[in-house]
């Protein structure tokens, strides 16, 4: 079942990558990043059956960091929305060359 779980993890990660590249809505891009984090968590949990409890501990830490990231990222999105009146990433071209 380990290889299947790793395959599933890879599939979720790739779908998350696809979402990050293909969508325009900043919140959805953020959601896809969470999806990628979850894919990695799944790989950690699956491998913890072979390497010990540390895998599950790392998942715990990753979840905490994801929560912090969600809070800060959504605050940034709100600040951007206040400035540009949109969350469409095509409109944020301040750093574009």
């Amino acid at each position: 079942m380990l290889s299947h779980a790793l395959m599933l993890s890879a599939a979720l990660f790739v779908i998350g990558t696809l979402g990050v590249v293909v969508r325009r809505n900043a919140i959805i891009i953020f959601l896809c990043i969470e999806l990628q984090l979850n894919a990695v968590n799944l790989a950690f949990v699956a491998l913890s059956r072979y390497t010990g409890i540390e895998g599950q501990l790392y998942v715990f830490f990753v979840m905490t960091v994801a929560a912090a990231e969600a809070a800060v990222g959504l605050a940034i999105i709100i600040a951007i929305f206040r400035h540009y009146k949109t969350v469409n990433v095509d409109q944020f071209n301040l750093l574009k060359w």
Partner: protein, 175 residues
């Protein structure tokens, strides 16, 4: 039985993930994401990570997703009917990027398949099951968390505090 449940959860997870990427409204994406997270939580249970499964559903699918939902609600999104998906050159690039990622991951797992996982093997799984019976689902995680990894635990608490302060400062309107 475990295999059947795994396949079921896996299909729900992948279907939900595809729904996140392709659905038009942000709220629909979010609900698909909740489905995916719940399915991944189910897979955690199949791997005997009961505490993480509970955390996954409570914190991830519950709290974090509700935070996203609140932001979507606050920003009053979902009335924007312009195409959100990028097509043309972007879809080509997306295919290249995701294909490369899939290739790298698959090559890593193929090399992993020929007995590539070094430590433990089946003995570790038996140890974990024994610890689960002896200490319980929470105790199994809590004991190493509060002994060997206590510094990391405290730092993560600090990180959360910083994140809260940062979120308040960023989201507050300039006076």
């Amino acid at each position: 039985m475990t295999e059947i449940l795994f396949v079921l959860f896996a299909f729900v997870a992948v279907g939900g993930a595809i729904g996140v990427v392709i659905s038009r409204t942000p709220v629909a994406s979010l609900l698909f994401m909740v489905t995916t997270l719940a399915a991944v939580g189910g897979i955690y249970i199949l791997f005997e990570a009961h505490f993480l499964a509970a955390i996954q559903v409570l914190v991830y699918a519950g709290a974090i997703m509700v935070l996203f939902l609140f932001v979507i609600m606050l920003l009053n999104l979902g009335h924007d009917y312009r195409a959100d998906l990028k097509f043309g050159l972007w879809s080509l690039m997306a295919l290249v990027v995701s294909g490369l990622t899939a290739g790298i991951l698959a090559s890593g797992f193929v090399s992993l398949d020929d007995n590539g996982i070094r430590p433990g093997g089946a003995g570790v799984a038996a140890e974990l099951d024994a610890a689960l019976i002896e200490k319980g689902a929470a105790g199994m995680i809590a004991e190493p968390l509060f002994t060997d990894y206590v510094v990391a635990f405290e730092l993560v608490g600090l990180l959360l505090l910083v994140a809260i302060v940062a979120a308040v400062v960023l989201a507050k309107p300039r006076t």
